[in-house]
Amino acid sequence: MKTEIFVSKINFLRVVDENGNADESLFPKDLDSGTLVRMYRLMLLSREFDAKVLSLQRQGRAVTYAPLLGEEATQIGSALAMRPSDIFVPSFRQHGVFIARGMPMDIMLVYWRGYEEGNIIPKEVNGTPIIVPVSTQLPHAAGMAFAQLYNKTGASVLVYVGDGGTSEGDFYEAINFAGVWRLPLIVIIENNQWAISEPRSRQTASQTLAQKAVAAGIDSIQVDGNDVIAVYSATRDAILSGKPTVIECITYRMGLHTTSDDPTKYRTDSELEAWKQKDPISRMKKYLESKNLWNEEMEKKAAAEDAALIDNAVETAEKFKPNPRSIYEHVYSYMPETLKEELDEAEANNFWQGVTE
């Protein structure tokens, strides 16, 4: 006997198209005009913040930085779908998620100045720090989701990973745990088409990244990641379902992998130009304008407000004074004698005198 025992399908969701036209039948009912404007404002703010850090890095005032340019809709749509009790677990490019969740930008900038104190996240932000080794945050998120079940909090955990990250073992281990334990875990794949120089086609022969969830026995969907409404809708549905879900957001890294990267070496201008036509911010702007929720005057006012907020944050962040003792003081819950001796030696002999960044 030989018979078909399993078939699967992956849906693609887009609510607002590149011209700003919405499919009203798919439009989330809970989105009021205030929230729609807030979404747009946060995308603008994220892009401005991004441009500022890039500029600071070029001036030697920030360390290597991974820009989010082009990925604003994926980040803001998913972040705003979270309830305050839901927890987010970022990778290293989710500046928009941090901003949307109320992370003070000056603290974020302390991280990008190169100090651990930039990982001090206010409790109400309800997220974990930036994680650099690709995909290693996925098992953490699974464990955190387990804790939500264990403590019956009702909260979900949203974890972010890139297209390259889906090739890592930790990605699969985590979604597999999520399936077995039925965890309230939502994996947002920020598929920006490039893992530094390796295109999406180098990562997997799978037609979609969403279908990787099928092997773990969990739900998944692919959405237009440059459509903030679609991302919001898919994420909100997943959160409310309480079920483990993979959401593949199709977006594009319009900028650099990091400030150490030169994309002209491996990708064409025409590809970039084609994606610029699908820019998530101009799409949402067209939609809001068509609904009379936005105009040029508001745009100017928003730009001025954002610039002031960001300048203020930079000023605060640059006032941060590092204390080298702090690298010794937080390794353990107590100070072991041998470590204290190394600290005392450094201080007693003024090894740090004159040391600069």
Partner: protein, 321 residues
């Protein structure tokens, strides 16, 4: 009660879980099977599947999920089935467990105890007999503990479970059922970071831990040595004060461990002694370890692990130089 190390650890886990509801156990075959060494035997009956969790086979996932649980206010005690399999979770331990506290300036911490059987001498298949303590000690941020007897195993595990740090708890497979000793029924702590001077003497100091303690004790008795014997119990942070105190008294020191000789715990201790007490020494420091190579197949392991002859010869060299 008279208990071997398996019973002592099982008893400690039961008491720890009763004391603290945030504690869960997770690992491969730890539920109904009670773990491959039966260390978690019966705990699933008492605490249920919610707190004694059979996981998929995924060591990085087990350690990574434990990190997430700890970040969310739980206190996980994952079991990795064998030390060799723990290297699949090595990235999670080195990249994350070691530094989450520091990189968040103590605003987030990882209370967790990673248990795994270590070392050889019981004819297991390859990858089941590694002694990985130096790897985990080198990074900083991980507390590394290795008991040599049932009494210490219970007290160290209870102490580890009450700390707000990631602790690597290494259980020598060979000692699981080697002998029984009196272990108190009630909960008690053995301090972490403190070595145990288990035998006092004037002529030499022997520093060891884990499986080798028993070989060393046997040699000391047979040769009728007047020796300080130090059981480290905690590898990291090292109890340098206890080591230096003894070395300054005796002036002769041998360091004995089952892990490979090169780049190991012995090198660390020898360097500290050389740095701070070299003028108290009457003879060069002697190190004894397994050969500097990956752990061989079981048929060859007795040629690899230090035996009494090797330890005895090293001590002869120490006493006559």
């Amino acid at each position: 009660m008279m208990a071997n190390m398996v019973t002592a650890i099982n008893n400690a886990l039961e008491q720890i879980m009763t004391e603290n509801e945030k504690i869960v156990l997770l690992g491969e075959d730890i539920g109904i099977d009670g773990g491959v060494f039966r260390v978690t035997e019966g705990l699933i009956n008492k605490f249920g599947e919610r707190r004694v969790i059979d996981t998929p086979l995924a060591e990085s996932g087990i350690i990574g999920a434990s990190i997430g649980m700890a970040l969310s206010g739980m206190h996980p005690i994952p079991e990795i089935q064998f030390a060799g399999f723990m290297f699949l979770g090595f990235g999670q331990l080195i990249n994350h467990a070691s530094r989450f506290r520091s990189r968040t300036r103590s605003t987030m911490s990882l209370p967790m105890v990673v248990r795994t059987p270590v070392s050889g001498g019981v004819r297991t298949l390859e990858h089941h007999s590694d002694s990985p303590e130096a790897y985990y000690s080198h990074i900083g941020g991980l507390i590394v503990v290795e008991p040599s007897n049932p009494y210490d195993a219970k007290g160290l595990l209870i102490k580890a479970s009450r700390m707000n740090d990631p602790v690597i708890f290494l259980e020598p497979t060979k000692l699981y059922r080697l002998f029984k000793q009196e272990v108190p029924e009630e909960m008690y702590e053995i301090p972490i970071g403190k070595a145990n001077l288990i035998r006092e003497g004037e002529d030499l100091t022997i520093i060891t831990y884990g499986t080798m303690l028993h070989e060393v004790t046997s040699v000391v008795k047979k040769k009728n040595l007047n020796a300080d014997v130090i059981d480290l119990r905690t590898i990291n942070p090292i109890d340098e004060a206890a080591i230096l105190k003894s070395v300054r008294k005796t002036g002769r020191v041998a360091i004995v461990h089952e892990a490979s000789l090169s780049f190991g715990v012995g090198a660390e201790i020898a360097a500290r002694i050389a740095d701070k007490a070299i003028f108290d020494l009457k003879a060069p420091i002697v190190r004894v370890g397994s050969a500097s190579l990956p752990y061989p197949f079981p048929g060859y392991e007795n040629y690899h692990i230090p035996n009494e002859a090797k330890i005895s010869k090293a001590i002869d060299r120490l006493m006559t130089s």
